[in-house]
């Protein structure tokens, strides 16, 4: 199965890290990616720019409004994600445990659907 590992955290804490803190975090993510590669579990992943850079589109009927900011204004924001391959939820949890981040939401990926057309 494929899973998304969605990394949530306190943006202020992320932004207040010093150079050494950022380097340490990057190194730990590199180790995590090496682990995924060793298990042939890496399917993708990216870090997201801060939520202040987000733009949200809302469609109501034919009307599309464009607003500044993320969809949900919450204390903990989505900061990045990995796509992984794992045999089952327990295997995904075991991998997610190795992530050096505070909150990781594990969501199964839905296999591609066919429209039938």
């Amino acid at each position: 199965m494929e899973y998304a590992l969605l990394i949530y955290g306190d943006e202020k804490a992320w932004e207040s890290r010093d150079e050494a803190g950022i380097r340490e975090n990057v190194a730990r993510h590199e180790r995590f990616m090496t682990l995924l590669a060793e298990r042939d579990a890496m399917r993708g992943g990216k870090e997201l720019a801060p939520s202040g850079s987000a733009t949200t589109l809302r469609r109501r009927g034919d009307d599309v409004s464009v607003t500044d900011g993320p969809f949900a204004e919450t204390a903990e924001v989505l900061g990045g994600f990995y796509l992984i391959e794992a045999a089952d939820l327990d295997a995904a949890i075991e991998l997610a445990r190795e992530l050096p981040e505070g909150v990781v939401e594990i969501r199964p990926i839905v296999p591609p659907r066919k429209s039938g057309s």
């Binding site: 045999a87 939820l89 327990d90 995904a92």
Partner: protein
């Protein structure tokens, strides 16, 4: 607790055990785990589980359907945990069983004070787990605890459904064969290793034919509180300390508990009893009022009103 599970390809081969571990997966909600255990562990029908949980059958049907969908979509495996993961996962499973039992032993809502069928189903699950995982002392300890508590079910309320406290219970209405069975299980265990074991030893003290050894009960609760840091344990410890002859020490153990357990009527109820003993009647009246505002079952409300009348407080 130290023995690893028997070596076989899947860790623990039994298909039923795999299913039970899946039902108690930490990725499921607590409600879903309990319902799934009754469905697939105890083999109850949806309608029976709905009755035990006091919800309409369609509600329970929807809850089970959602839980099964989550198991399939999220990829919860039908697999027993690895030896390294076993203690944690077993802990979750035993907690599910004990929650079922306690809801049966002391119902938190509804007209009935206890629901013996639910407690009985929890004990059956305990036996099943004991058969499937025979090396696990924690299961034996939990089983002993449940059996010892359940053995007093006929004496815990009178003919009109009123709560009867331990000291006032008719010993003749205890199930002495079940108490023997519980004590027998306890004798199989070594020195107290876990929470269920300590609680079972406390239940064993309460099941003895003679007067309760309250200083020993207070000591067991102190050990349990060190292990759990649980405010409910502290509350019980306070009761034991009072019974052992130190109501003032007990009262100071209650300090701050009202804030930790703001919804529990038991904190002000115990405080009221302690204040009565210390003849601090005005404070006792306030505590009875606070308990009556919070109490949720009819039988426990009646008990509080009776106790207040007995003390001549209004």
């Amino acid at each position: 607790m130290t023995d690893p599970p028997r070596e076989d390809p899947g860790g623990i081969a039994d298909e039923r055990l795999r299913l039970l571990f899946a039902c108690c997966h930490p990725a499921l909600s607590a409600d879903a785990r309990a319902a799934l255990m009754l469905r697939f562990g105890a083999g109850l029908k949806t309608a029976e589980i709905a009755r035990l949980f006091l919800v309409p059958e369609p509600t329970m049907f929807a809850r089970l359907t959602r839980a099964k969908a989550k198991m399939a979509q999220a990829g919860i495996p039908l697999r027993a945990p690895s030896a390294a993961g076993l203690p944690g996962r077993l802990g979750v499973m035993l907690k599910v069983v004990y929650l079922l039992f306690t809801e049966g032993y002391r119902a938190t809502s509804g007209p009935e004070l206890q629901r013996p069928q639910l407690a009985g189903e929890a004990i059956r699950l305990g036996y099943l787990l004991g058969e499937l995982l025979p090396e696990q002392d924690e299961i034996v300890a939990l089983l002993a605890l449940m059996i010892l508590q359940h053995a007093r079910r006929d004496a815990r309320f009178d003919g009109e459904g009123r709560l009867v406290l331990l000291a006032d219970q008719e010993r003749g209405r205890w199930r002495h064969d079940e108490i023997e069975r519980g004590l027998g299980l306890l004798r199989r265990l070594g020195p107290p290793a876990g929470e269920y074991h300590l609680q079972a030893l406390i239940a064993a003290e309460h099941s003895s034919a003679g007067p309760t050894d309250w200083p020993r009960v207070a000591q067991l609760y102190a050990d349990l509180e060190r292990r759990t840091a649980s405010p409910v344990v502290r509350l019980n410890r306070a009761v034991a300390v009072a019974e052992a002859g130190s109501p003032e020490a007990a009262l100071s153990l209650l300090d701050g508990l009202g804030k930790t357990l703001p919804a529990s009527h038991l904190v002000p109820a115990v405080r009221a009893e302690l204040l009565c003993r210390l003849d601090r009647r005005e404070e006792a009246a306030d505590a009875f009022d606070a308990a009556l505002r919070l109490v949720r079952t009819d039988a426990e409300r009646a008990h509080l009103l009776r106790r207040r009348d007995d003390e001549g407080i209004r």
